[in-house]
Symmetry: C2
Subunit: 393 residues, 2 copies
């Protein structure tokens, strides 16, 4: 176990009807003039936005609104949000939506008090020194952004997807009402579940040894997802299964299951080029990339993949041939993804094998290497795209 | 899963040599004049106290000291601490020690800004409205007080052990250096491990259904303790095993594994009378009480105890007779406790069967009932003491 800092000061307010209290929590965390930032018209149609506004009004909190966040949120809307916040003297941002909406809110939050271009912070490691406080009302269990320090944004020019992380971007509060996710179509629900599982796998595959506590916590989240996801796909109105997935999604990414160990994150990076280029759902891209990444790297630590197979997928250990067990685990993962309706190869995702050189080029590794579990070159990344392109059960 | 709030804003600073930075963290969290509160002479002899003072001096933070915290911390020292803090205008309390020291610090923290008697808050449900901020340098993995809102204190007059809880009592930061626990004798180490496991079991035995995520997280912590505790008992200098136990201890009690479900806490209450009366270690008392409590209540939900047996203790499920599996699990727990050197009955603990009426009397239930999993009467509590008195493997 390695030294670490863990600081997750977000107040999580979980359960039925909790969005009715968002005004109270904005007030508690110091907001007096709010930007309500939201995405599609579904928040309007469902009446959620009206409930949020009503709650703010009951707490005598003024607000302005900015909708239109798209999946893979764009820099263009963030510039608009920053300008609006400055003009209206907004001191608190309330995100009403899923991970894209929260990530867009975080972009605005760090951009408002910054003199230069907010994009300076994305993909550069530049340290965030100030940001407006954020609250969230979550409508999709997936990104974990409701409890994480991260934000991923796409620059429209060139469709570049880049990220930033800072404890200043952790929401002050997050309202998690599982019932709000019940209207989500099966495909998006499955994309969210895949994203949650990927967040754990990025932490699970580590070169740190003697990390039993975080190994077991990772496995706890994955076992939950394996049980609950098919239940939700079969019965979208299952509040309890939605609730388990929602809290699993937060725990998966606020880093409590990942502290004190090296993490990988190559699958996310490799996927980002897919959703950047094709504007597909991030979770769907991960369903295609992550098992391919596993197939490419498993020989680096066969026993860790055998552990995944046995502890997470319930495979019997083949003590004479652990590699056989390791490969079985990866097959179980891909089969699970197919069963919940995810694409497992380029064709099913809508990606093209002939674009691989472009994807590798945009990944931007050049002659360098990257990754916490296995360090990959551009050639390795190309090979993972090729495995992903052709994958089948 | 039930509605819940989860707010754990403590900054955890984990790993080797982290106590050298405590001055920095006091400063970051607003302290300028500190009470260093500590326990036995071991913190002095080991040089830890000197390192803490040096770190404060390097950050130009003034301090006064108050040592002498005993296990099962007493009200008398808290009164002394409150007076000292008022006289010296202390604005931050730094606890250097284990759970008793932190709990004593919390008593002082809530007492300083309060006009009346600090004891008013203990065991009464009176709401804490103000408290000095606290930081901790933890030396024993056990109580979880480094990340919890709770404090348990013993009133010397009558040896009454009572508790209080408030988010205001959650430490601002906690410094967790597993190496500081390496000097702890095997018996105290095992007491700490038992306490950690008990914190999880109090949450695991619930009447809430559909709580897969927290069930699995509970099991993750328990599986870790079952693996790591015997390693530490066999090899006290094993830093990695100490590290896994230390983080498990925090996760076990900051409530991330217990949210959204009913919890029990009768074993803790029933034990408190033992350590109150005999001044024995809380963990040792739990080793005697908790399996006895399990034997008394398991019929309330045989399948939950079978789940414990299978998932936590690795028992084979007896599908024809789940009760057999449930009882096997409880036996595994008691055998584990004996193997790590814990007492399993009154005699081994130094308690007396003839004191049972006194213990029940002090428990103070009268004609009432208490408990989240099974509601117990005074007669039930007496029966649990009797089972505990006579227990054997």
């Amino acid at each position: 176990m390695e030294n670490f800092n863990f600081y997750s000061p977000t107040e999580f307010v979980f359960g039925k009807d909790t969005e009715m209290d968002c005004g109270k929590y904005v007030k508690k965390h110091g907001g007096s003039k709010v930007l309500i930032h939201y995405g599609s018209s579904s928040a309007v149609k469902s009446g959620l936005l009206d409930r949020v506004k009503k709650s703010l009004e009951e707490s005598n909190i003024a607000y302005v609104c900015l909708g239109g966040v798209k999946p893979n949120p764009r820099d263009t809307l963030i510039y608009e949000g920053i300008e609006l916040c400055r003009k209206e003297n907004v001191d608190f941002i309330l995100s009403v939506g899923g991970g894209s909406c929260i990530d867009s809110s975080k972009g605005i939050a760090l951009g408002v008090p910054y003199d230069g271009d907010f994009w300076d912070f994305y993909g550069t490691g530049k340290v965030v020194e100030k940001a407006l406080p954020i609250g969230t009302v979550l409508t999709i269990a997936a990104a974990g952004s409701e409890g994480s320090p991260g934000s991923v944004v796409t620059k429209e020019e060139g469709m570049l997807k880049r990220d930033v992380g800072s404890d200043l971007l952790r929401p002050k509060f997050s309202i998690l009402n599982p019932a709000l996710t019940q209207t989500l179509p099966a495909y998006q629900t499955a994309c969210g579940a895949t994203d949650i599982m990927a967040h754990v796998f990025e932490r699970y595959f580590t070169n740190s040894t003697e990390v039993e506590i975080t190994d077991r916590l990772c496995e706890a989240v994955l076992l939950t997802m394996i049980k609950e996801t098919p239940r939700v796909i079969a019965d979208p109105d299952n509040y309890q299964a939605r609730a388990n997935i929602m809290w699993a999604g937060t725990v998966a990414h606020n880093d409590i299951v990942g502290v004190g160990r090296s993490q990988d994150w190559n699958s996310h990076g490799i996927e980002h080029e897919l959703s950047g280029l094709y504007d597909c759902a991030h979770g769907a891209g991960l369903a295609v990339i992550m098992p391919a990444w596993m197939e490419f790297v498993y020989k680096h630590n066969v026993m860790r993949f055998a552990q995944m197979a046995v502890r997470i997928w319930g495979c019997e250990m083949n003590f004479e041939n652990p590699e056989d067990t390791a490969l079985k685990g990866i097959r179980c993962f891909r089969t699970f993804l197919r069963n919940i309706g995810m694409p497992i190869n380029f064709k099913e995702l809508g990606a093209k094998e002939e674009d691989i050189p472009t994807l590798v080029e945009k990944f931007g590794l050049g002659d360098g290497k990257t990754g916490g579990f296995v360090s990959l070159s551009s050639d390795d990344v190309a090979e993972i795209y090729r495995i992903a392109a052709k994958a089948s059960l």
